[in-house]
Subunit: 191 residues, 2 copies
Amino acid sequence: MLDRPPEFYFPAPRRQQFCSQCGTPVSLAVPPGDNRLRDLCHSCGAIHYQNPRMVVGSIPLWQDRVLLCLRAIEPRRATWTLPAGFMELAETTRQGAARETLEEAGAEVSIGELYTVIDIPQADQVHFFFLAQASSPALDPGPESLAARYFALDEIPWEQLSFHSVVSTLQHFVADAAAGHFPTRHLSLGS
Amino acid sequence: MLDRPPEFYFPAPRRQQFCSQCGTPVSLAVPPGDNRLRDLCHSCGAIHYQNPRMVVGSIPLWQDRVLLCLRAIEPRRATWTLPAGFMELAETTRQGAARETLEEAGAEVSIGELYTVIDIPQADQVHFFFLAQASSPALDPGPESLAARYFALDEIPWEQLSFHSVVSTLQHFVADAAAGHFPTRHLSLGS
């Protein structure tokens, strides 16, 4: 940890000004053999690619109730969400979903099948939600959550949900719960 | 394009030396409220997160034959692969799979259902392969391919395939083709 932390911001913008390898100002140009603009370093030759990010989360269940977390952070502070967050290096999507569920809700879950894969091109993201079973009803919301609680399916606060991917995943889940069958679904929001 | 291109390299390493926003040397530290080491800038406050990347591709079919490309580039030069590559910003996984199929094989395909999602944590990647139907047998391999051709399922060059994710996807595809049913499969390679 730092002695006197500056005002850190999250995250660094995608658009680069300087080369991350040698510190020289970069310029936007199409590299040889490529067909897209990239941040290029004319000093050391680094090509700085940008790629979409993955968000991984779960649909934790305890006795037919689904766990939602009240967001303590922007965007969409004070709205309800399924526990989810950016996938980290050196983990699987399933491990990431379990980690985020523990970090945001303090819930220990057994992660089951992949349920939704959701393209969100306007945000440069793909979201993954897994079916999950809690091993106890115990919750301990982390610093990114104001609260965490289990909702019966007919109590879900549809008007106060955080993101379209959460709404879409829960809508499919409620419909599939009536049918008792939860196939993996690939969805696209926008574009 | 550049007048006198330097020797560009691909891609810039994940580990940063300098802040991409202000050019100051970064240091590896745990930001306040976080639990992982990140590249931090103590000058402008940028936190440089790193996340896994997605590779998107297809299993293009023409009259029960599957399209493979002979790689012209490292890694695994001169081995056969399904057309696939890194997902770009502002596209869906499906659009990315169609783009890569066109770029690497010159094949115009209609992208169908999501078939495999494959975690590869040791490479910090998740691979996606879609079922795809070619609209004609025409091929025009791009600069990343030495050749492209359609193989009958009993002609697949199993010993000369490029990556485990390609082997695994084709193994499932051949088995599912016998059954005539192609469910979305979530797989994990390693870890």
